[in-house]
């Protein structure tokens, strides 16, 4: 299987452990990856650029889609936010031919044209839609038996559900739980799994942002979770990076390890802690490792 990987900014910036862990896991799955950032693809705008100038964001994303079309590959994302922003842009571009033509006008200088065939998909969805749960199980060499893990999706891979085509793909709605089960983990379900991590208002209203971190992490701790897993590096930044502050602000001892989805996959595939960058988290993942029997 071949994909055009859109790694996004954060997987190589704020969460540099995500990018190598993704490459390891994809290699194991036999994916061939052509990396879009090597081909000059830009940031999606993350919804922030769109506040200022949605049109510019749509041009940037159409450009990335056109680059993927030009090499004949389907796009794989590894970030809920990248995924959502791309899906929203794609919807606007595809439902209005006039708008698409106007956007394409800005790509013509480079000889690019977006034809409307891109279907950007998160690795999470690809695992279910292309690999399949049964096949995924065959890659598991170190089942995560007894590891209690809580899912945390990230807003943009859940809402708005029409742009994410949940009607066409109902399996996307609980994709994370299905993948966790395939890896042998115990799913700790909780109502906060589809809520906001608070990251987008971190610099604007830190108190509220951190309250959200405290709420989610303490809730899963009370439910007996050993860790949380997320397909969104921005959620990771907040839930992991700001957990110390959340503990301070809420006066609780939480210490909930937060794993990136590829790290959880990697653990089940037998990679070691170092290969997955597990020592790079703010909240130590040591407890998780000892529970699955992998040396820290």
């Amino acid at each position: 299987m071949k994909y055009a990987l859109f790694a996004g900014c954060v997987s190589r910036g704020g969460c540099p452990e995500l990018y190598p862990a993704t490459l390891k896991v994809c290699q194991k799955l036999g994916f061939f990856l052509d990396e879009l950032h090597e081909r000059g693809a830009t940031c999606t705008g993350a919804g922030v650029l769109q506040e200022k100038n949605q049109f510019l964001g749509d041009v940037f994303n159409a450009r990335t889609f056109a680059i993927a079309e030009s090499i004949g590959l389907k796009i794989m994302t590894i970030c809920s936010t990248c995924q959502g922003v791309m899906s929203q842009a794609n919807k606007r571009l595809k439902e209005n031919p006039e708008y698409l033509a106007k956007v394409n006008g800005y790509l013509a200088d480079e000889g690019l044209e977006y034809k409307g065939t891109a279907q950007p998909r998160h690795l999470l969805w690809i695992l279910i839609e292309d690999v399949g749960i049964e096949k995924l199980k065959t890659y598991v060499t170190q089942p995560l038996t007894n590891l209690r893990v809580a899912p945390f999706y990230g807003c943009y891979i859940i809402r708005p559900s029409d742009a994410l085509e949940f009607k066409l793909h109902p399996e996307r709605e609980d994709s994370l739980e299905r993948v966790m089960e395939a890896l042998g983990a115990d799913v700790v379900d909780f109502p906060g799994k589809t809520r906001c991590c608070g990251f987008p208002i971190l610099t604007i209203n830190e108190k509220n942002s951190v309250s959200m971190v405290a709420k989610h992490t303490s809730e899963v701790k009370d439910l007996g979770a050993d860790a949380m897993v997320t397909p969104c590096p921005l959620c990771h930044l907040n839930l992991d990076g700001y957990q110390p502050k959340a503990m301070q602000q809420s006066q609780q001892n939480i210490n909930m390890p937060i794993l990136h989805l590829p790290q959880l996959l990697g653990l089940a595939m037998g990679f070691d802690a170092k290969e997955l960058g597990l020592s790079r988290h703010i909240i130590s993942a040591k407890k998780v490792l000892s529970k699955v029997g992998i040396p820290a």
Partner: protein, 317 residues
Amino acid sequence: MQVNISIKRHNPSAPDNNTYWEDFDLSMHDTASVLDALIKIREDVDGSLSVRCSCRSAICGSCAMRVNGHAKLACNTKLSDVIDADGRVTVEPAGVMPVIKDLVVDQTLFWDKVKQISPWLQPDGPEPEGEYIAPNSAMMDLAGVMNCIMCGACVSDCTVLEIDKDFIGPAALAKAYRFVNDPRDDQTKSRLIELNEKTGIWDCTRCFECVEVCPKGVAPMERIMSLRESAMEQGLDQTVGARHADAFTDSVAHSGWLNELLLPLKTFGMFNLGAMMGLAPIGLRALLRGKMPSIFHRSVPNVHRIRRIVKKIEENE
């Protein structure tokens, strides 16, 4: 169709243990709504069940509650769309607002927020002889917001209101958009100045919950984003949020990527030491764990093409 409805009940006059889940097994018609089932329970099974409803046609906005954890109008939610394979569905009162009894919440908070944004036209100058005339095109855009039936579904599921009751919230901010963009209103700037304050437009996390749950397509979050744009256009660009959007756009427009190291500097300003120090603990911790080293001092390949696009869009749009 056999259904099992699990209802979160609350009886304020019971001495203790007054919040509990109760299950009801019912036989319902295939086209029945959640509200039909609740009424059937109240009429035939347990007359003490409290539920608020009136129009039963998604017009009055009385029956917002959580179905399977998400806010919906009970009257326009078909049971067959929400039951699982075993015929089960859960029903709870709306969130954020305090429960009076069972599925009825106290909407005071909702109405207080709406009042807060002065939801009436404030034109300057003398009153016209007849009605105030507004161009059709301007009103068409507002029609989408005027569809709001004040049901509070968006308020129920707003992520920020859940933890901070001071936030103005989605319904009232959508209402504010309606007046900011009404050509007959002359308080545009002063409204935006107020909305630009803490608890206003910048406190929204852009989580899309309100867009997803609104039964009338009001899309409050998109109205909030549009208010942010209007505020920045009106020169209200010194809030942390506006500077964040500015810095982000600059970074992507200049290098194709997000320059994560520069972002806090630009957002808080070089000299806002307090805010910068606030970021320091995570910065230091991240540094220790080797999180910080960033590849983003270089630009994406062929960045001149990106800059060319940005320049053209700035010139044309």
